[in-house]
Subunit: 306 residues, 2 copies
């Protein structure tokens, strides 16, 4: 793993698929390269990447392709948390071997109502089995989807047991009070907190967060990264307002197909719209509507077409 | 796949682990053999099997071990539904090649609030990719855990598109009204309905179900299979009451560690208690308490010790 901590704005990179629904490594590398050019890091294999619709092998192959294409693993925080302990260990060890800055780790999410003891044991087993103090784990709190939360007491216990490995959290709960509580409890000790949306980017930076990891950074990376870079400037609140407008349009559709529809439109590449089941593409009417609403805000994706 | 349909009582076989948390094929084969001796079929790799805590490779290896040990695949309905389309296809094709009677298929369960269109497409892709009319898919409805339901309109659409392949359902919703609605809509056409617990075995048989698939069949297989075989007899209601008493005791603990604690005790084999995270074993006090309550009901697991 890289010596330098990964911070700033990251994108759960959307995963392109070919017409046979196999992952499309060429479009994937191209999109990742564009995100990096916009100063956005690569939280590949997140929720908005349809990562849980990919096998472990498919994820590893895609990560290998990024590295082989010369993209900097110090700018990568791939998702590696699966339901199965053995899959999580395998993906985490693979990401580490690839030199990634860290890994974003979902809790095992099939069983509901599991105890903090059980979750502690899950993360602990992965860390122990990978067995390398350079490993940096970013905990992934996304109760609306995973339904299995990562609580403050659990973070505290993990930090105490593995201070070298437990590096931060992505908080995608959508509840600022929780993000604030995590910041208050741990940010001062060097635990890196990433709100899970740019909606909380400015509030987060003011309260000690280190950036954000946001789906919308797939389509609006430059503007989000600019707010991160200039959050102390006088126009920061105005920047936040503009980001919120774009986010709000995207959120009025199912997020993943909406992200892909926008990339398909501004990239003039209709194949990008493809999603794996159980997701479905936007209807033509929805896609046109989305584009019209974004155009009304002078939205653009500069440099996306190559 | 076998020509004969699999019916009656099946058990989501609990998966034994060694002390290093790797699956223990020898104890697994032994337990499966015992279940078959009690007239209970093998719905291996279900929720209570900790199947989602196993990698695809671990599941396939365990299934291969059952077949290699000479257990009859016509009595097997392994779980093959994963979050990732490619994993589900791989496991389903593997089960089919092994000659299993059918497969029990969870919907992809990471994304919540997905449409019936998306779920239809998920099952359709698997059926199309496996591409064999002998494939029998049993849909797995377990909204308390998967959080993604299989609705009556979805079943209808799947049956219409794939009448040869869509063979039945396991309904683990715990809501008799739903089971009744599914029975009313489809049982007469030869769609096999298995309530997900013996709690509904007698009511189910009276309404056209073909058996049940129940966690508790791991520990109380003989008595549950007897009710299935004799549900028209005068003592059927009494039998159901006795089953309910045992079920009720098991349900007052976390089910999977409780099943394993009972097997560890009556099999005199403490290693059986091991679970994979995020689950945790019962405390010693809980395990003693469970055993005492079961003993008070003259509970036994005849023939478990070999």
């Amino acid at each position: 793993m890289s010596e330098q901590r990964i911070r700033g704005v990251l994108s759960p990179v959307v995963t392109p698929f070919k017409s046979d629904l196999s992952p499309d490594p060429e479009r994937f590398v191209r999109h990742c390269r564009w995100l990096l050019s916009q100063n956005v890091g690569l939280a590949a294999f997140g929720t908005n990447s349809e990562a849980n619709s990919l096998s472990a092998e498919e994820r590893m192959e895609l990560l290998d392709r990024l590295v082989a294409a010369g993209l900097d693993p110090a700018r990568m925080m791939p998702g590696t948390g699966c339901c199965a302990l053995t899959d999580t260990v395998r993906l985490t060890a693979h990401a580490m071997k690839a030199g990634c800055a860290g890994v974003l780790m979902l809790p095992p999410f099939y069983y509901k109502g599991v105890s903090d003891d059980g979750l502690f044991r899950s993360f602990a087993e992965v860390i122990e089995r990978v067995g390398d103090r350079r490993l940096r784990v970013y905990l992934y709190h996304i109760p609306p989807v995973a339904q299995v939360p990562i609580t403050v007491p659990l973070i505290e216990r993990l930090l105490k047991a593995y201070p070298d490995n437990v590096a931060g959290i992505k908080d995608s709960g959508g509840d600022w009070a929780n993000t604030q509580a995590v910041l208050d409890a741990f940010a001062a000790t060097g635990f890196d907190v990433f709100p899970g949306s740019e909606t909380f980017l400015l509030a987060g930076m003011r309260a000690g967060a280190v950036g954000c990891i946001s789906a919308t950074a797939n389509v609006n990376p430059g503007a989000i990264a600019r707010l991160h870079a200039t959050w102390r400037s006088p126009d920061a609140d105005l920047q936040q307002k503009c980001l919120d407008e774009i986010r709000s349009i995207m959120q009025s559709y199912v997020m993943i197909p909406a992200l892909k529809a926008a990339i398909a439109h501004w990239g003039r590449d209709p194949a990008w719209a493809t999603v794996r089941p159980p997701l479905t593409v936007l209807t033509d009417a929805q896609a046109s509507d989305l584009v019209a609403k974004l155009e009304a805000k002078s939205f653009d994706m500069p440099g996306l077409r190559t």
